[in-house]
């Protein structure tokens, strides 16, 4: 088995004149979690659909599990698992019936199927809901059922389209623990998400915007790459300060949090002095000011604003 689970080489999809996915390239090894980030309509779902073999690319190539997305979509379907954003199992079938049905679709029968269902039930903790109708499960358990369903046929590659969207923090953590467990078993996970703190949990992340791949790399590396430094200012009144600080020379961006303001700055030493000076003149009370490490959200907003000013 090759080390690369999923690869894309200048993968492109055009719908008429509209380019949904524009020459994106990446490689994902087995046993890793690949976070695919981007705004709604950035091209995430189109990319997933091409890689799953249900949408033919306009140009470029993609390989999933060693099969070509253009020429061998049917083979791809046998080696991947898929968890859609919207719950798409049968609400009027119970947990066991859903798993039995999909197991049979993937060619599992009899005792093999029963054993495998038992395995995925204990892995996901769904055992106590065996007879529960899928439609009556809570959001988090529904998603776990969808994952249980996706791994029935022991795929080495799983696509998850926003698996934690709309879930409470506890359920989200539960889902991620499950994903880590799968990754440890050598499964390659392709995950799209909106949550930045989830992106931190991925081995590799890629940003996509307007169909173009903006950035790809490890979360820590991406944070370090960020040219700007972040200055965290605790001050009062907050909104007035945020407006004024934006005009200070050397401040490239301002983000307001609960009681603090994060300033994207070029040079923290010089700007810090200027900010304190401005605050003193305008009657803003600064209780603390310190440089902090950039978060992925900062990286993301920087990339996004960079793109907008380019355009």
């Amino acid at each position: 088995m090759p080390d690369i689970a999923i690869s894309a080489d200048k993968l492109t999809k055009r719908f008429g004149k509209f380019t949904a996915v524009d020459e994106i390239s990446f490689e994902i090894p087995y046993g890793s979690i690949f976070g695919f980030l981007g705004a709604n309509g950035a091209g995430k779902s189109t990319t997933i659909r091409m890689l799953c073999g249900i949408l033919a690319p306009t140009s470029g190539t993609g390989k999933v599990g060693g099969f070509d997305v253009q020429a061998q979509p049917e083979q791809i379907k046998t080696v991947i698992g898929y968890v859609s954003q919207r719950f798409s199992l049968y609400s009027d079938l119970n947990v066991i019936e859903n798993l039995t049905f999909y197991g049979q679709i993937y060619g599992l029968y009899g005792i093999n199927l029963q054993n495998r269902i038992q395995e995925v039930l204990s892995l996901t903790g769904l055992e106590r809901f065996r007879q529960r109708l899928a439609g009556e499960l809570s959001g988090g358990w529904k998603q776990k059922l969808a994952i249980a369903n996706a791994i029935l046929h022991r795929p080495k590659i799983i696509f998850l389209d926003e698996p934690t969207a709309g879930l409470d923090p506890l359920s989200r953590r539960g889902i991620w623990e499950l994903l880590y467990q799968l990754a440890e078993e050598g499964v390659s996970l392709f995950v799209t998400t909106h949550y930045m703190e989830e992106a931190e949990r991925c081995n590799t992340i890629a940003f996509i915007s307007d169909g173009k791949l903006l950035k790809i790399g490890q979360p820590a590396a991406l944070r370090q790459e960020l040219h700007d430094k972040i200055l965290e200012v605790t001050c009062q009144p907050l909104m007035k300060a945020s407006r004024l600080f934006l005009k200070v020379e050397g401040v490239r961006g301002v983000t307001v949090y609960g009681t603090t303001i994060n300033l994207n700055v070029t040079d923290e030493k010089i700007v810090e002095a200027r900010v304190i000076e401005t605050a003193r003149k305008e009657g803003i009370t600064i209780t603390a000011i310190k440089p902090i490490a950039a978060s992925l959200e900062d990286v993301f907003s920087d990339l996004d604003s960079g793109r907008r000013s380019d355009a």
């Binding site: 799953c52 249900i54 046998t78 009027d92 079938l93 049905f101 679709i105 029968y109």
Partner: protein, 367 residues
């Protein structure tokens, strides 16, 4: 092949949990049977009749008797003036009014021609026609029994006889037709909504990334509805035979096999509707859109022979037109497969075309 059964099995579970559809499947055919069996009676009997007898003679009473004894007319009231007689028709109290002139008996005895008038409410053509035909027969029989005309040897001894349904019972005609009507309505409806439900519920999205092929999905989805269609047909035929005592003259096996062919056409229509509709409501609207003209144009109520040529051509495009001839032919006339070949091949052709067309359309929409 095993995928097909997996889908059929899960479909059966889903149907068994869907109480509303189950109720529809059982109640609707039975309700239709009761309505057409008990409620709608197109046999015209006992027309309410008012009599204005100005003669009040022995002969006039005999004539009135002849009318009532025929069972076609029931004397509701005797009136004393033409005005009252007309009013009874206007108000809809009477369907017909028999007017006997004052010199009725006298004229007959003196061997002069006399007049008797029957006014018929022609608003509804069916009872009006019956009243017209029956009254003529009653009067000519009256003339013979009263020896008003000499008994003669007629050059033609004309003896019409009614075959297959000698008592002209409308249930004999309507109830076998009901098999066609109910199947054509219910089967496409449940098939289309079942397929569209997968689309609505997002299930198709999950199925798309599995190795299942479109034709496997379609066949698996259809199989349970073939059984349901057979169940509906059997329940209608049994009730019709046992409760309404409609005799079945032909072969049950031929009936079963040809009903299967018709069922495939109905499934195909449902399948096709599902490829157009985006939700269950649209699907049932499309099915209704095609079911309504079929009821009127297929010969279910009105005979196709009396339709204008253009309309009759349209009726040839309706699967139910052929199936009605088949069920009525087998049940009432005892016709065999070869007698019905003219009806069978258009149905087979339709079944083949509609299934082929829908599967191709479905596969395209899935991709």
């Amino acid at each position: 092949m095993r995928s097909i059964w997996a889908i059929a099995y899960k479909e059966f579970i889903q149907i068994s949990r869907d109480r509303r559809t189950l109720a529809l499947l059982i109640i609707m055919p039975m309700m239709q049977l009761m309505i057409y069996g008990y409620g709608i009676n197109t046999d015209v009997k006992h027309l309410p009749t008012y009599v204005y007898d100005q003669d009040r003679s022995y002969l006039s009473r005999r004539l009135i008797n002849a009318f009532t004894q025929s069972d076609y007319f029931t004397v509701k009231e005797r009136v004393g003036s033409l005005k009252e007689a007309y009013a009874s028709l206007d108000k809809g109290l009477a369907q017909s009014v028999l007017v006997i002139p004052p010199d009725f008996a006298e004229n007959i005895i003196k061997k002069r021609t006399t007049q008797v008038q029957l006014l018929i409410d022609g608003t509804d053509s069916t009872p009006a026609n019956v009243a017209l035909d029956a009254s003529q027969a009653i009067v000519s029989a009256f003339m013979q029994t009263e020896r008003l005309i000499p008994i003669q040897v007629l050059p033609i001894d004309f003896r019409p006889r009614l075959w297959y349904n000698p008592d002209l019972k409308s249930t004999y005609f309507m109830l076998p037709g009901l098999i066609g009507l109910v199947l054509q309505f219910l089967v496409p409806m449940i098939t289309a909504t079942a397929i569209v439900r997968e689309k609505e519920g997002g299930n198709i999205e999950q199925l798309l990334v599995t190795p299942i092929k479109p034709y496997e999905l379609i066949l698996g989805k259809i199989i349970p509805y073939i059984f349901i269609g057979i169940f509906i047909a059997i329940s209608i035929i049994t009730t019709m035979h046992l409760l309404f005592v409609v005799p079945i003259h032909g072969s049950i096996i031929t009936l079963f096999l040809l009903t299967l062919v018709y069922l495939v056409v109905c499934l195909g229509i449902g399948l096709w509707a599902s490829t157009i509709a985006d939700n269950q409501q649209q699907a049932s609207q499309i099915v209704m859109f095609f079911a309504m003209p079929s009821i009127l144009l297929s010969g279910f109520i009105f005979p196709t022979q009396s339709m204008p040529i253009l309309v009759r051509d349209i009726s040839y495009l309706i699967p139910m037109t052929y199936f009605l001839k088949i069920v009525r032919g087998i049940i009432l006339k005892g016709m065999g497969f070869y007698d019905l070949i003219g009806q069978v091949w258009p149905l087979l052709l339709m079944a083949f075309l509609v299934i082929l067309f829908s599967i191709r359309r479905f596969s395209k929409r899935m991709a």
